[in-house]
Amino acid sequence: MMEPVKINGIRLNKNYIQVIQKDIDMLDQSSMSLYQIMESNRINMVFMTLNTMGSKSFVSGTIGLKNFGQTIHRNESWEYDRRVCTLSIFPHHHSLQLLGFLLLHLGGLRLSFRHMVSSNAMLTFVVDQENCDAFTDMFSANFDLPQSHFPFEQKENDELTQFLKKKYPETRASYVEKKIKTYGITLVPDLNLGSYRFSFDHLSLFGQKIGYMEDKKIRFYHISMHMASPEQISVYLLTQKSLSVAACNNCSADLLHFHGPHFGDRHSIVSRALSCLAKESIRVLLADCTGASISIVLPQGKGKAAKLSLIDVFDSP
């Protein structure tokens, strides 16, 4: 029997709508993308993933139910999915063993999700709200959580928010900065980007393969997964070198990672980052935002120029 893997917590955000825009071209200035429209409406997305790797590019974000009416009337061509929640576990310590262990159990229980991406510490899932309890039960049953842990959920409570705002100067972070402060922008060049696509039935096997490789020192730098169809999973995994697990494709890529205070509660941040790169005609392969973190995967050799362009808008200590 496998030992439960130790983690420090689960984070939960309920009552969101998933909005998907397909066939996007972020370098095309003639049309606005989902994140640009959210910026112009000052709407925050607690989760966003952009993918231009597959045959069909897309951007997918989760927006609060209360903002749904503001977007649907203007954008009838977008796809809106029913209520979703985001669930994060942390920390992952970049461990392929933990990642494999998690995927093995998800596949074994046939727990389907829409997206899963990593930040520096978290693995975040977007799941149908009706599956939320099944996910938290699975995490609680299979992971070793601290006794004092409480799966926290930051609820929207306007009355309480107003009361706290009066009582305390800083309770919800809705401020806008001309130059956005970050904890630093990290560039990791020359990584291997492995692309995998397989049936959901093979998720357990994939988890077993990556989680139980002989070389225990291999770490992952970033992962982005989504359901390409109801039965097909696409996985993009960044590692130092290619893994022994056969991929559909391997290529070299650069990773930019940064995070800042209250990024998860503020609008426009990812849009401003991607606009910087678009201005310099830098193609983005993947961009994933969860919690207070943004990870951007770029073609090999583009990381340095991308980091320089971000410094125009983002303050890096």
């Binding site: 917590g9 930040s119 972070a173 995070h259 205070p261 207070a292 200590p317």
Partner: protein, 128 residues
């Protein structure tokens, strides 16, 4: 340092907690972590850290309340508290500075986004 001192990091941003934790561990401190104010209070009572790095805006119980609870408790009041605040202007002074008009009982504060090296300097100053 003869004995490793325990530092508790409290923030609802797990990415930041990991970054600060790694830095503290590299300086030979023992580290405990909490992700909201309630969880922090339990860890503080159980583990009695020497110093707490405490975020202000958190679920369940915010940092101002945690700070008040600790500093008004005779058993806990000697624990050093460094507040992390994204709006540093809201903390005019701390009890550490002994200025009039203090707005928090915390011993020190550092504005977000934190400079990790600066934070380590503050921690080392207080833990000497």
């Amino acid at each position: 340092m003869s004995e490793k001192q325990l530092i508790l990091i409290v923030d609802d941003d797990p990415d930041l907690v990991e970054a600060v934790s790694m830095k503290l561990e590299s300086l030979e401190y023992k580290v405990a972590k909490a992700y909201d104010g309630e969880e922090a209070m339990e860890k503080i009572k159980d583990e009695k850290p020497a110093l707490i790095i405490l975020d202000v805006m958190m679920p369940r119980k915010n940092g101002w309340e945690v700070c008040d609870d600790i500093k008004n408790n005779d058993e806990l009041k000697d624990i050093i508290i460094i507040l992390l605040t994204a709006v540093a202007d809201s903390v005019k002074t701390t009890s550490y500075t002994h200025h009039d008009g203090k707005t928090t009982l915390a011993d020190d504060y550092i504005p977000k986004p934190i400079d990790l090296d600066k934070l380590m300097e503050i921690v080392q100053d207080h833990c000497q």
